[in-house]
Each structure stands twice: as structure tokens, then as C-alpha cells.
């Protein structure tokens, strides 16, 4: 629309930019400046060198934790997709009232604090929790250890992040023109082949959006794996917090944050080339 108006008035329209200015200034002061400071600190604390980066990129612990962080994020993303896609489909196929109800249930978990949700899983999956009690009742002599495993931490993270996936896919599904499906059917596409060749490609942008969003948010998690996961699971965000809170090693913490940021930006850049970042918000 900006383009149409400017063509009419023969000069560039500054209004949209002016309206954005307060937000841009706010972000510049409270986000960009501190971020630049973090970038500088990663090279200057405790003295001017690239030693922090050498440590981060070559230290066995950091490599291991970075790897674990990305593996966890990938696993959680995949699980969110497996749960989210059918649910989004169900919402789209239901009557408006039912769809609203499902949407409400999905977004309801956003109303509860993140820590409360994590502790709720501890209660549910614990030794004296209902799930273990059920397993005992149906005949498991020694029920499997559920809490403090990769299973429990992944389950909780999927619970927290699945809404992002569902909303993204649902918004794309809603926009699909039903005529396309009907014409595919009239041309003889049935069942899986209809899904594989028509429906799936049409929903692909939603899948990509949801996956990128879930993956990137998950990279910054650490409380959930620490509270629910096995001791061997460590996320990079926890290590960054540790460096700063315990050792005042602002340089090391900053270098790790910069590496995490660089990798995240690289992922977004690849996504941008493929799909365009503007699509990320539906």
C-alpha cells in the first residue's frame, strides 16, 4: 500500500517509518546496544584476545553441550511436528465451535507459568505420581524410570512449544482453498496420494515456519532439561548462566552467547533464502 500512495504523491512516504520509530529506538537502546556490548566483551574480557572463542570452539565440554543443545532442539521440533500437524488438521476440519475449543485448550498452557508447568510434570511423572501408579496397577512390577530421563524433559518441552507449531500450521491450513482439494479429487487423487502431492506441499510453509520457530526458541531452554532431564543433558544457555552468575566470567559467557547467536542467525538466514523471513509470522 505504501508503494501505491508514494506513486500517487510522487515522493517517498515516510509515515510507516515514523510510526515504527518509537519501537525502533526502544529496541536500539535496550536490545541492540547491550547486544553490541556483549559482542565487545567477548573479545575484551578479561583482556583483548580471541582466547574466549578458542576455548568455546575447542573445549570438549562446550562442543558436547552445543551438540546436545542442537540435538535436543531438533528432537523437540520433530516431536512438536508429529503432534502439531494432526491436531492442526483436526482443528481445520472441525466445526468453528469445536475448532475454537481446541484452540483454547492448546493456548491455555500459555496461561500457566513455565516453571509451574515444569513442576507439574515432575508430579505427574514422579515415583508416586499417577502414571507410575497406573503402570503398577496394570501389572508392572517395577515401572520404568520416567522422571529424570531424556523422555521426561523432551515431553515437557514439547508441551511448552507445541502451541507455536500448531498455530503456524493451522493458520496456513485455513488459507488453503478447498477448491484445490476438490479439483485434485476430481482428477483422481485419493487418500495418501492426495495428501502427499497436494495437501502436504500446500501446508509446507506452515511446517517450515513452525519448525524454525520451535527450534530457535528451544535452543535457549535450560531450566526444563535441568529439572526434568537426565544429568548428562546440558543446554548451552545453562552453561552461559553458570559462567556469569558463578564465576563473573563475562567474557566466556559472552563468547558462548555470540556463537549461539551466530548459529541461530545462520539457521534463520538459510530459512530466509528458502522461504522469506516475513512469512514467519503468518
Amino acid at each position: 500500500m505504501g508503494a501505491t500512495i508514494s506513486r500517487l504523491s510522487e515522493k517517498p512516504n515516510l509515515w510507516p517509518w515514523l510510526l515504527l520509530a518509537p519501537l525502533a529506538i526502544y529496541l536500539a537502546i535496550f536490545f541492540l546496544v547491550p547486544l553490541i556490548d556483549v559482542a565487545i566483551m567477548s573479545f575484551t574480557e578479561p583482556r583483548l584476545s580471541i582466547a574466549n572463542y578458542q576455548k568455546v570452539l575447542t573445549g570438549a565440554l562446550y562442543q558436547k553441550v552445543f551438540l546436545n543443545t542442537f540435538m535436543t532442539a531438533a528432537l523437540v521440533t520433530l516431536a512438536c511436528l508429529c503432534v502439531g500437524y494432526p491436531l492442526a488438521y483436526l482443528m481445520n476440519a472441525s466445526k468453528p465451535r469445536t475448532a475454537m475449543l481446541i484452540l483454547l485448550l492448546v493456548t491455555m498452557s500459555f496461561w500457566t507459568s513455565f516453571l509451574v508447568r515444569t513442576y507439574a510434570w515432575m508430579v505427574l511423572l514422579g515415583n508416586n505420581g499417577p502414571i507410575v501408579a497406573f503402570l503398577r496397577a496394570v501389572g508392572f512390577e517395577t515401572p520404568p524410570q520416567l522422571l529424570f530421563t531424556r523422555f521426561s524433559s523432551t515431553l515437557a518441552m514439547v508441551h511448552i512449544l507445541a502451541p507455536y507449531m500448531i498455530m503456524n500450521i493451522y493458520s496456513v491450513m485455513r488459507k488453503i482453498d478447498p477448491v484445490l482439494i476438490r479439483s485434485a479429487e476430481s482428477l483422481g487423487a485419493r487418500g495418501f496420494s492426495l495428501f502427499r502431492h497436494v495437501y502436504l506441499p500446500l501446508t509446507a510453509p506452515g511446517i517450515a515456519n513452525g519448525c524454525v520457530l520451535v527450534f530457535v526458541i528451544c535452543l535457549g531452554f535450560y531450566v526444563t532439561p535441568v529439572l526434568l532431564g537426565s544429568p548428562r543433558e546440558q543446554m548451552i544457555a545453562g552453561l552461559i548462566g553458570h559462567q556469569i552468575e558463578e564465576f563473573l566470567a563475562f567474557g566466556m559467557g559472552s563468547a558462548m552467547a555470540m556463537v549461539l547467536l551466530a548459529i541461530t542467525l545462520a539457521i534463520l538466514a538459510i530459512y530466509h533464502r528458502r522461504f522469506g523471513l516475513d512469512k514467519l509470522w503468518g
Binding site: 559482542a39 565440554l61 514422579g126 515415583n127 537426565s230 546440558q234 564465576f247 551466530a262
Partner: protein, 352 residues
């Protein structure tokens, strides 16, 4: 990111310090405004742990202090060592007073981020410019439903997975866990420091597979013990009593309990230093301290406070005349290794 960062700073100023100072000055004029007014109002800002800790401190330390001196107290939580360091660097103070553990205190004193304190408010109360206030102990606790005939009575027995089979939990905090591992391996309390780090890790290896989870937050440790997620735990005594009071079938021993001290410190160069020192003197005097430690489940480090504590309450304190001889103190000054390197090794060990 980095290229932008460098370009930006060189564009604005010849080096980072001046750039930071310039932007800092611009920011502080706006951000520190409320603070400047506060300083004139006779207000002290104290960094607290929030929750029950703050309730106890409010009832026995903050409110009585305000009643006596007219100095208002506001609180900021949670306790953050990093923030203490940052506010001295930036000159913007969110709090004037905080509490630190022994290891942090020595580092803070060396880094020059806390005010010098010339005189001990009570005899023996001053250590590296911090005033010793209260103590807690890391003790052995266990589920009595799992061990009806009593649980381990020392760390060697805690390590004994044959005699006491079951899942275990310890704090993910090497400065506290390594001494316990050495005691378990047969080192005498008086020979603990400086720590034999390699021996401690070798001892930890023996128990690693039996540690189901490492706790990181106090509330988490109570929950794990109370709900029976583990059978044995090394836990802070206050957190143990919380589980006991909630009705959980749990037992503990004071034997070989490991004492940690908490110290009051004043942030370096805060404009409220005078009032802050006045508060610390008040907070470590016998009666207020006795009230605070009783409500918050600590032990007083000023012995004069024991007079104001009932025999019943004293049983729950690691510093009571009865319990104290069973416990041992950390000797942070003779730790024997670079704590940061040890922490790194500890995290690597856990991940492997």
C-alpha cells in the same frame, strides 16, 4: 555481529571505555534519577532471596531496624553475585547490601566490589570485609519408608551402595560436593583442606551411576525428598525440615554436616554505605539475629544470639552447642585449586 559491534564503537568513540562512559552517562542520568531521590529519602536497598527468607528478614531484621532508626528498607530479589559486580562497574546501584557465601566473599573482596568494613560488630565476626551472619549445613537425609532401621550416618555410608541400596541425589555444586566425596573416601575432617581434587573425583566415580539427579535449586531438593523421587540426598538442613514438616517420612543426621556461612556485605562506593553498615551491625546483633535464624531455619554465627533461642529451636540448628561439634566447616581459603577450573572439570565429569 562482531564486525558491526566494532564498527559502531569506533565510529562513536576512540575506545570502548569512553564509548561506554559516554553512553553510560547518558543512560545513568535518566535511569538513576529515582535512585538519587531514594538516597536522600533515607532508604536502604537490600538484595534478598525473596519468599520465606524475606518474610523472616522483614519480621526480625528490616521492620525492627526501621522502627529504631527511621531508615526505610526496600528489597530486590533474588540474590545475584553477578549483579553486585555489574553495579559497581556501571555505578548504578540497585541494592546497597547483599549476602554472600564464603567462596564468593573472597572473590568479591579480591575484585574490590565490596566496601571495607573496619570493625567487627561482634568478636570474630569479620572475614574479608563481610560480617558473618548465619549458617546452614548440607546434611545426609533419607527416606524412612525405604530405610526403616535408619539411614547412613556419615558420608562413607552414604557412598555405600551395598548397605544402602537406592537412588541418590546431591547438589550440583563442586565446592560442596568434593569435600563430601573425600570424607566418603576415608579422609579425616582435619586433613580435608587443601582438597585432593583427583582423589575426590575418583571417589565420585564410584557413586555416579547411583545419582539419579543433581539438584540445583533449594525448592527442588525439598520436592525430590518429600515426593520420594530419591531415597538418599545431601540436602540443606532447612530444606530437610521443610520436607519433615510437610509430613514426609524422612530422617537425617547432623554427623558430618557441612557448614556454609553467609556474610553481609556492602556494595562498593554506594552512597548509602553509612546506613548500610548500621544495618549490618543491627542485623548481626543477638536478638534480631536469633529471631531471623529461628524463623528462616538457619543457625546464628554470633554466639550471643544463642541466648535468645529456645532449646527446642536449637535442635534444628547446625550451630547449636549440641549439633555444632558433629559438623565441619568449609575452609574456602585453603581450597587447594582454582575453583573455576574445578567447576569446569565437574561439569565435564557430569556430562561424560
Amino acid at each position: 555481529m562482531t564486525a558491526t559491534g566494532k564498527g559502531f564503537s569506533t565510529l562513536l568513540a576512540p575506545n570502548r571505555r569512553t564509548f561506554l562512559k559516554a553512553s553510560g552517562a547518558a543512560l545513568t542520568t535518566t535511569l538513576a534519577m529515582p535512585y538519587i531521590t531514594r538516597a536522600q529519602e533515607n532508604v536502604l536497598y537490600i538484595n534478598t532471596w525473596g519468599g520465606p527468607w524475606e518474610e523472616a528478614a522483614k519480621a526480625h531484621l528490616f521492620d525492627p531496624f526501621t522502627a529504631e532508626t527511621g531508615i526505610q528498607i526496600r528489597t530486590v530479589s533474588p540474590v545475584s553475585f553477578a549483579k553486585l559486580a555489574q553495579q559497581v562497574q556501571t555505578g548504578t546501584y540497585e541494592f546497597d547490601i547483599t549476602t554472600l557465601g564464603g567462596g564468593e566473599l573472597i572473590r568479591a573482596d579480591q575484585a574490590g566490589i565490596i566496601e571495607d568494613i573496619a570493625e567487627a560488630p561482634y568478636e570474630g565476626g569479620l572475614f574479608h570485609n563481610g560480617v558473618a551472619s548465619h549458617a546452614f549445613a548440607t546434611v545426609i537425609a533419607y527416606r524412612t519408608d525405604k530405610f526403616p532401621n535408619g539411614g547412613p550416618q556419615n558420608w562413607a555410608e552414604f557412598w555405600d551402595v551395598e548397605r544402602f541400596p537406592g537412588s541418590r541425589c546431591l547438589q550440583r555444586y563442586p565446592a560442596r560436593v568434593l569435600p563430601l566425596a573425600l570424607l566418603a573416601d576415608g579422609v579425616a575432617v582435619e586433613d580435608l583442606y587443601p582438597l585432593d581434587i583427583d582423589r575426590a573425583f575418583a571417589s565420585l566415580d564410584k557413586i555416579k551411576d547411583h545419582i539419579l539427579v543433581w539438584w540445583t535449586a533449594g525448592a527442588q531438593s525439598t520436592q525430590i525428598l518429600r515426593d520420594g523421587e530419591v531415597d538418599l540426598i545431601g540436602i540443606w538442613h532447612g530444606r530437610y525440615f521443610e520436607a519433615l514438616d510437610a509430613g514426609a517420612p524422612v530422617g537425617m543426621t547432623w554427623n558430618q554436616g557441612q557448614i556454609d556461612r553467609a556474610y553481609w556485605v556492602v556494595a562498593k562506593d554506594t552512597p548509602n554505605a553509612e546506613n548500610a553498615k548500621k544495618f549490618i551491625e543491627f542485623a548481626t546483633s543477638a536478638k534480631p539475629l536469633a529471631g531471623f535464624v529461628t524463623q528462616a531455619d538457619y543457625g546464628p554465627l554470633n554466639p550471643a544470639a544463642n541466648e535468645f533461642i529456645s532449646a527446642e529451636d536449637a535442635k534444628r540448628m547446625p550451630t547449636s552447642p549440641e549439633n555444632y561439634p558433629l559438623t565441619f566447616e568449609q575452609d574456602i581459603e585453603n581450597f587447594g585449586a582454582d575453583i573455576e577450573e574445578v567447576a569446569q572439570r565437574f561439569e565435564e565429569w557430569i556430562a561424560s
